[in-house]
């Protein structure tokens, strides 16, 4: 009797233990599984950083001046970088947030790559692999640009880089290494070149938000420009648009159809996928769009006169249309997409669509590379293409006049009095970029690349803050929590 019971008990418990395994396999909620190329593609939708670098890049640059106390106290995201201080915030628009968002994008890419490496039919995932590699390279590139010293061929192999992550993280606190800028650049180049071969544009639902072939080439052009590999810049820039023809894709500030646009429509069109100038867009949680006209440290009339209302090498007037009052000067670029979190009230999350790559940048990168390669005429042609969409006689007569507005060697020499034409072309390009990418943060990258000093003066002109060419504060501080992963922070 007792033996019988024992046997029955043993039998039941063995059965139930084996049954349990299956029983407990049930996932606790409706979560997705990554089991098809389509789903990997959907995961890669999140492999782009959903953070915004513009706010702090713009505030650190010479595109921001103090509007004075009348503009308020200033938010940490805008005030701290303007003072070249570490930003005491990790909310959206802070460097910490951008760091986190980039690595979040990288995690999505790595997850996709891991899935692809474990499937039985990796050939079905080729396009996804390409996108994942390039997306991973892009986020790392932005991180190394902002959080490490800018690439310098002489010091890159000793300058600390940022952790180049290639595996999904599986433990709570994993240790990472910064290695060197050179190492990071090498990794980026590997991923980029490998990815470029695999990309297939036809796999994208909304191509403008993904690394299409042209977006990948635009990224490559920027990467090699930073790496000063100018031949490759030209090579990739030429592949962005069919036949290397950038002109038809430029934003047009001269055409009556664009000049007549009302504010909100103009603002919306700037970041629309239908705008041919936008090569790659990304949605970012950001209050930049709603705040940039009002931030205390931003565009002042003083700066307007130095830039878009100032003189330029072409002799024409900039066609940009300026809006706002003295404390809210702006050019409409970033409409806000406000995501309500409930039916309740107006509390939610603000989003901006950020053009990560645009036709203008490709044009400038090619022009700059050509200048260094000695192809001055090619460089000039690009600049004049650009000018044809930017210069007008006057607001009363808003037309481009090729005759009077054309940029020539002579004009450059007169205007800049450069050391040589190459130098003049570079100065022209940097000035044009500063104006054209106003409110887009790109000026900061040029300041980094060319070690341009930045001086910030308070509105009462009593204090001045100078960021010298080799100031350690040019390198944005790494989040304090990174020390938990064994990452040493940047010197201050």
């Amino acid at each position: 009797m007792k033996k019988k019971i024992l046997y029955i008990t043993i039998a039941i418990s063995t059965l139930s233990f084996t049954g349990c395994k299956k029983y407990l396999e049930q996932s606790p909620d409706l979560r997705a599984t990554l089991d098809s190329p389509d789903k990997v593609s959907e995961l890669l939708v999140t492999a782009y950083p959903h953070g915004n670098y513009i706010t702090f890049c713009e505030a650190m640059s010479d595109n921001a001046e103090d509007k004075g106390l009348a503009a308020g106290g200033g938010e940490a995201e805008n005030r701290d970088p303007w003072y070249f201080n570490d930003v005491k915030s990790r909310e959206i628009d802070s460097p910490d947030n951008y760091w986190n968002e980039c690595y979040k994008a990288i995690a999505a890419a790595n997850q996709a790559l891991e899935t692809i490496s474990s499937v039985s039919n990796p050939e079905a995932y080729t396009a996804q692999k390409g996108e994942a590699l390039i997306a991973r390279a892009y986020s790392h590139f932005m991180l190394v640009t902002l959080f490490s010293k800018i690439y310098n061929v002489n010091t890159a192999s000793t300058d600390p880089g940022i952790p180049y992550v290639t595996q999904p993280e599986r433990v709570v606190y994993k240790k990472y290494e910064r290695k060197t800028v050179a190492y990071v650049y090498q990794q980026i180049q590997n991923d980029l070149t490998q990815g470029l071969l695999l990309i297939n544009d036809s796999k994208y639902t909304i191509p403008k938000y993904h690394f299409t072939k042209s977006a990948a080439h635009a990224f490559a052009a920027r990467f090699f420009l930073f790496k000063k590999d100018y031949a490759k810049v030209v090579e990739h820039a030429n592949l962005v648009f069919a036949g290397g023809n950038i002109l038809p894709n430029l934003r047009d500030y001269v055409a009556p159809s664009s000049r007549s646009m009302e504010y909100a429509k103009r603002q919306a069109y700037y970041t629309a996928a239908s705008n041919p100038a936008n090569i790659l867009l990304a949605e970012a949680g950001s209050a930049w769009g709603r705040s940039y006209p009002f931030y205390r440290y931003g565009l002042t009339f003083n700066l307007v006169y130095k830039t878009i209302w100032g003189t330029n090498v072409s002799g024409g007037s900039w066609a940009y249309q300026l809006y706002g009052r003295d404390l809210s000067l702006n050019i409409p670029k970033f409409p806000e997409h406000f995501v309500l979190t409930s039916q309740n009230g107006n509390i939610g999350d603000p989003y901006n669509m950020i053009p990560l790559f645009s036709a203008e940048e490709v044009l400038f990168n090619r022009a700059e590379a050509n200048a260094y390669l000695g192809n001055y005429s090619a460089s000039l042609k690009d600049l004049n293409d650009f000018g044809s969409k930017r210069f007008i006689v006057s607001d009363a007569n808003p037309v481009y006049d090729a005759g009077t507005h054309a940029i020539t060697e002579a004009k450059i020499n007169t205007f800049y009095k450069p050391f040589n034409l190459q130098d003049g072309l570079i100065q022209t390009i940097l000035d044009f970029k500063r104006v054209d990418f106003m409110f887009e943060g790109q000026r900061w990258f040029d300041i980094l690349r060319y070690n341009i000093p930045v001086t910030h003066a308070t509105a009462d002109l009593k204090s001045k803050f100078i960021l010298g060419p080799n100031d350690p504060r040019r390198v944005v501080q790494i989040p304090a929590e990174a020390e938990l992963a064994g990452i040493e922070r940047n010197p201050r």
């Binding site: 008990t9 407990l24 409706l30 979560r31 939708v45 979040k104 979190t341 409930s342 929590e481």
Partner: protein, 1234 residues
């Protein structure tokens, strides 16, 4: 920048609890003929006894086998001096008998000789004559029935008579019950065996053996939970002598408070170490219950409810903080809401690791067991009892709150007007407005009118405002009512030895304390227990409840960390409305019609709103449960328990077109007003035409929002129980069990636009409504499912030596799918070791009389709980991209949580030492327990480097220690025949401290009323912004801000929290109750005081940078800073001061400053009950067995609370939504037994 935190609270489902004492029917129904027979028997018996009454003094001794009668008779004559004569042929003198007499009386000898023969004898003058029996008619009758009448008394082991004990002739339907004195009389066949049975006692079998008086004493049965000496763990019933853990048992009768419907609230102040905080008093919302304080930081801290052995799953998971938010889902929060309190037999609260060990990985927060009533063993006739409770609530009054009257309020508005806050241009098109806005609107010319509503002259304006200045509206009177809540409960209990059935049903109807709420609830419960044979028995329970509840319409609460405010659009909570709305506003105009003011640019009147914006909640809860018990051997049983539960709840939020919200969706468009149109945030701007005027997405109709929750749960348990006593000294018990739980939860939400309630219920859907929600990435419908799967294996062994020393060990192995698809994380073993020493059993204790019981207990073990994280494997969620243009939106998968290989359960090591002492024959009982708990692997949100892609991870990274002591002293202070006084004091002290937490909270996370966790502080500590002083010029409050500087600007989102001031824990450190019950003859009186101390309370936020003409202000505003006077109440800032604040919110910060904290300690007269049992003589005339009347008052008097609270309830979080404080109520309770 702005983040919403959707918080939920639960409303309280109050369970109505009635208990009627059920008495047995006395044996008075026997047919008349039989009665006569019995009478005859009695007479006959006495005559026979008379015969033998002539006693023989002499004794006979003879020991010989096969002795002839002749020799016997000679011996009798020789020894006793009696001659024996035979006058019959039935026996001869040569007949042989076996003689075995030693000092036997002659009667005994004669009885032996005549045994079994139809003979009798008479004694006359020293001569015994043996003769044949004369057969009378009576004899024949007796012979025919061959019955014996037996009388007797049944007592318990204390010697008290036991009424209602079933007395039965074994093997026949013949049965009766003892009367109220424990007496019985039964007529049985000769040689019968009587069985005595009563619920909770061991059934006793007594062979009659010719006796006519049988008095018995019944012993408690360890297998039936009745007596306090039995501890049930839900798995096993253990004699208290052998139990080694810390547990408290309280009977349903004792815990009961008439008029309090929620079962969980009954434990308030009655159980040491259990704290019950009434954060909301609304029907259906659970109170915040903590057994021995908090154990987890982010996970559940609520105890596990187990009803009749089955874990009661929550329909919706409501987190610690959600309890106090007032969100509609909190109405579903009380898991015991569907129980009829009348059905409860007892509560058992398991506190330490030993008591809860069999619950293993779910037991970290203690276990509360509820046992429901069973049918009682009797003669099968029904026992019917009815309880009716009739309660009324007291309206709150302004006397208890510190709110300005309308005159003072108007004078404050006048100051605001002078300071420039109420300028015409600002106010006339403002979204919200009171009397000033109304004045300015009245200055306009109505359409076609040639005179304005009010002339713009100082006199006309003053006279317009005058009416409101003197209005002194009593919003409490307008919105609350002294309504009636009635509860009727009927139960029938019936049972025989082999089958017992309990049936009950109840109906509850609460007309509502406010004009915006009401509740109806039905419950039904059938429980049957059947015994098929001595080995096999089974039971079935079917219980169900239906609830229909109405509450004021409300949307979720949102927290704004920027300005430091919680907001809730369209909040209609009558209590918050009364407290926060100016008394200058009038609900009715001069003509007695509803008077509207403006909210969200649209007309608003609270009475209209409560009528037209309603939340209707319906709930259906059905449970079927079965159990089978099989006795494999005498000491070896197998148990099966299985249950199925199905709960369906629906919330319908009906926002009719007449209410404010749909009108807000149209404001500025109909009627056209460009200023409003551009300002109204409820209008829609088409992204394709961003420069056009915004349009309304709700041109017709209202909104219809639904939110449905479903729960399906299965539970199966198999267990084996074996015990054996060796040599009467060694008791060994082994127990093994295996269980399985399966729970599916489902939630569906839907937002219906343009539903036309007053046009036949047809929706008018403007496509823009859908377009707006899709473009805004706001899902207008959603569905979610959750799946819980658990298995567990447990075994426990106990050994007891001579009832003196007990040792107990338990091991349990739990498996769950909750952590995600990882093999390692899924399983968790928990264990426990405990022992006890019954000192009173020792020899050296036998000599004294003072201490009747003394037990020392000790426990050490591991328990656990599932945390909130589910990412032992990668968690991916799908969604759509957050992009403004429909053409650019695509579906996406995002990493919700990275895989965490290290994820595990939250765990706790507990050490418990306990002492139970009883004095003076158990008249005074003292229990004290001290414990130390070390919680570890607690789940917390922690910041990481972010390099892995998840900056804030939810992981096992926190530890917490807590220590506590708790105890109770209870006893009969007086116990006499007619009167008595019982008293009980309980107390619990618990102090916890987070020893490790790598979170990095912001100031805003810590200063709210719920507090926040920080290392070195309790699980929820209340922190304050350090208020310094008022600015000497402006009266603006200044603080030590996040930079450590004196400033009026505190950045609430800063993570530098070291300058905050720690106030104290949010949960009380100390709590308890003092219960007294008196009885005199038929009268009873009981009083319950509850108290708690050691926590801090955040005062309701009342200060703002700027006020409107809608705000109600407390009287402390009368002492506000005006011109450099030395007061501590901040000024009402003028616009110039505000503009100089550079966007700071010092007044909101002041609400969360050290100046706005009060002590949370209080003493409350929780309940007073006065009862009268109607004398049975009177009521029996109208056919009743028992009848009693009780008058109960609940929450009558807050005896002590910090004066700074100014009427604010220290337990209640005034969070709006569906939350209401606990009302003062009076209940008349009528109980009748048939």
């Amino acid at each position: 920048m702005h983040k919403t935190i959707a918080l939920r609270i639960e409303t309280d489902d109050q369970m109505y609890k009635i208990y009627t004492r059920i008495l047995r029917i006395p044996p008075g129904y026997v047919p008349k003929l039989l009665l006569i027979m019995k009478l005859v028997t009695l007479i006959l018996l006495s005559s026979l006894m008379q015969v033998s009454a002539a006693s023989f003094a002499q004794l006979v001794t003879l020991k010989e086998k096969n002795v002839t009668l002749e020799k016997m008779f000679k011996e009798i004559r020789r020894q006793a001096g009696y001659d024996v004569l035979l006058s019959t042929n039935e026996i001869k003198s040569t007949t042989k008998v076996d003689a075995n007499f030693e000092n036997s009386t002659v009667e005994e000898v004669m009885a032996k000789i005549l045994n079994g023969k139809d003979l009798t004898y008479t004694v006359e003058d020293k001569t015994i004559l043996i003769k044949p029996k004369e057969k009378t008619l009576f004899d024949k009758v007796i012979n025919y029935f061959a019955d014996i009448r037996i009388t007797g008394k049944v007592r318990d082991k204390d010697g008290s008579p036991m009424p209602g004990v079933s007395v039965r002739e074994k093997g026949s339907p013949n049965a009766i019950s003892t009367n109220s004195q424990g007496d019985y009389a039964i007529t049985v066949k000769e040689g019968a065996t009587l069985t005595f049975a009563s619920v909770g006692y061991k059934t006793l079998e007594v062979p009659v053996k010719g006796r006519t008086v049988i008095n018995v004493t019944l012993e408690e049965d360890a297998s039936q939970l009745k007596d306090v000496n039995i501890v049930s763990t839900g798995y096993q019933n253990i004699s208290k002598k052998l139990f080694t853990g810390s547990a408290v048992s309280i009977s349903g009768v004792d815990a009961k408070r008439d008029g309090i419907a929620d079962v969980s609230r009954m434990l308030e102040g009655r159980v040491a170490g259990v704290s019950v905080q009434n954060v909301s008093g609304t029907f259906g919302a659970a109170p915040k219950i903590r057994v021995r304080g908090a154990t987890s930081i982010t996970g559940d801290n609520k105890p596990l409810w187990v009803v009749d052995g089955v874990v009661l799953e929550d329909v919706v998971n409501i987190s610690n903080e959600q309890l106090s938010t007032g969100d509609p889902s909190t109405l579903l929060g009380s898991s015991v809401a569907g129980l009829n309190s009348d059905d409860i037999e007892s509560f058992q609260i398991l506190k330490d690791a030993s008591a809860t060990s069999l619950y293993g990985a779910r037991a970290m927060n203690g276990v509360i067991l509820i046992t429901t009533k069973k049918g009682k063993v009797g003669d099968g006739s029904p026992l019917i009892s009815y309880t009716g409770n009739f309660s009324t609530y007291l309206k709150p009054t302004y006397d208890n709150f510190d709110i300005m009257n309308s005159y003072d309020q108007m004078s404050v508005y006048a100051e605001m007007e002078r300071k420039g806050w109420l300028n015409y241009s600002d106010v006339v098109n403002r979204a919200n407005g009171g009397v000033y806005k109304k004045l300015y609107q009245s200055l306009d010319y109505a359409n076609g009118s040639v005179t304005p509503g009010v002339y713009n002259s100082p006199e006309a304006r003053a006279s317009f405002l005058n009416r409101y200045a003197y209005a002194n509206t009593d919003w409490f009177d307008v919105l609350f009512k002294n309504s009636l809540m009635q509860e009727h409960s009927l139960s029938v209990s019936t049972g025989t030895e082999k089958s017992q059935v309990y049936y009950s049903t109840s109906y509850l109807k609460d007309n509502g304390w406010t004009i915006g709420d009401n509740v109806t609830r039905f419950t039904g419960n059938v429980r049957g227990n059947w015994k098929i044979n001595d080995k096999l028995s089974f039971g079935l329970i079917t219980s169900g409840s239906i609830r229909d509840q109405r509450a004021p319409g409300t949307l979720g609460r949102t927290s704004n960390p920027v300005s430091g405010e919680y907001s809730r659009d369209f909040d209609l909570n009558p209590f918050s409305y009364a407290l926060n709305t100016s008394r200058t506003l009038t609900p009715y105009d001069k003509n007695g019609n509803l008077e509207y003011f403006t909210m969200n640019f649209a007309p608003f009147n609270i009475i209209n709103e409560l009528k037209n914006n309603t939340l209707e909640l319906s709930l259906l809860d059905l449970k079927v449960q079965g159990e089978v018990k099989y006795k494999i051997a005498n000491n070896f049983t197998y148990d099966f328990l299985g249950s199925y539960r199905y709960v369906k709840t629906g919330q319908e939020h009906k926002i009719r077109e007449q209410s404010n919200m749909p009108q807000a969706y149209r404001a500025g468009v109909f009627p056209e007003n460009t200023t409003i149109r551009l300002a109204n945030r409820f209008l829609y701007t088409n992204p394709a035409d961003p420069d056009a005027y915004p349009v309304s997405v709700l041109p017709y109709g209202g909104l219809y929002l639904t939110n449905d929750d479903f729960l399906k749960s299965y539970f199966i348990r198999n267990s084996l129980d074996w015990n054996k006593t060796f040599n009467e000294k060694h008791i060994v018990r082994l127990f093994a069990s295996q269980e399985l739980r399966y729970i599916d939860r489902h939630n569906a939400q839907f937002t219906g636009y343009g539903y036309q309630f007053d046009k036949g219920g047809v929706p008018f859907i403007d496509p823009n409504a859908i377009k707006q929600s899709v473009e805004g990435n706001f899902n207008y419908y959603s569905m979610q499912q959750w799946f819980d799967r658990y298995v567990a294996f447990a075994t426990t062994g106990s050994y007891s030596y001579n009832n003196k020393y007990q040792l107990n060990g338990t091991l349990r192995y739990d498996g769950s799918n909750k952590l995600g698809q990882s093999q390692q994380a899924r399983w968790l073993p928990t264990w426990n070791l405990s022992g006890s020493w019954n000192v009173d059993e020792e020899e050296f204790m036998k000599g004294q009389k003072t201490i009747s019981k003394l037990t020392v207990r000790g426990t050490y073990g591991l328990t656990a709980s599932l945390g909130s994280a589910t990412n032992s494997s990668l968690v991916l969620r799908s969604g759509s991209t957050l992009r403004p243009r429909l053409s650019e939106i695509e579906s996406s998968l995002s990493i919700n949580y990275l895989e965490n290989l290290e994820l595990t359960w939250e765990k706790l090591y507990e050490t418990n030492v306990g002492l139970d002492i009883s004095f003076f024959k158990n008249r005074l009982n003292v229990t004290v327990d001290a414990y130390s708990r070390k919680s570890f692997d607690l789940i917390g949100a922690i910041r990481t480097s972010g390099i892995g892609g998840e900056a804030v991870k939810v992981a096992n990274y926190a530890d917490m220690d807590s220590k506590g002591i708790e105890g109770s002293v209870a006893g009969d202070i007086f116990k006499a025949k007619d009167w008595g006084w019982k008293s009980q004091i309980t107390f619990g002290y618990n102090k916890g401290k987070i020893t490790n937490l790598k979170s990095n909270p912001t100031i805003w996370d810590l200063v709210g009323a719920d507090g926040g966790p920080q290392q070195g502080y309790p699980s929820r500590g209340l922190f304050s912004i350090d208020f310094q002083k008022l600015d000497a010029e402006t009266g603006v409050p200044t603080f030590i801000n996040e930079k450590g500087e004196l400033s009026n600007n505190v950045y609430l989102q800063s993570t530098i929290t070291k300058y905050l001031k720690y106030e104290g824990p949010v949960d009380p450190l100390f709590n308890g109750g003092f219960y007294n019950a008196f009885n005199y003859k038929n009268f009873t009186l009981s009083l319950l005081l509850t108290f708690s101390a050691g926590n801090k309370v955040r005062l309701n936020p009342i200060y703002k940078n700027s006020y409107s003409d809608l705000d109600a202000m407390p009287n402390e505003f009368l002492d506000r800073f005006i011109l450099g006077n030395d007061v501590n109440t901040p000024s009402i800032a003028d616009p110039r001061i505000i503009s100089n604040l550079d966007g700071a919110y010092p007044y909101n910060a002041y609400n969360y400053s050290s100046a706005r904290v009060a002590d949370g300690g209080f003493i409350r007269l929780k309940s007073v009950s006065f009862g009268y049992n109607l004398p049975s003589k009177q009521i029996s005339k109208i056919g009743l067995k028992t009848a009693s009347l009780n008058i109960v008052s609940n929450n009558l008097w807050l005896i002590y609370a910090d004066k700074k609270l100014n009427g604010q309830d220290p337990e209640f979080f005034s969070s709006g939504g569906v939350a209401l404080p606990i009302p003062k109520q009076f209940t008349l309770s009528l109980k009748v037994g048939l």
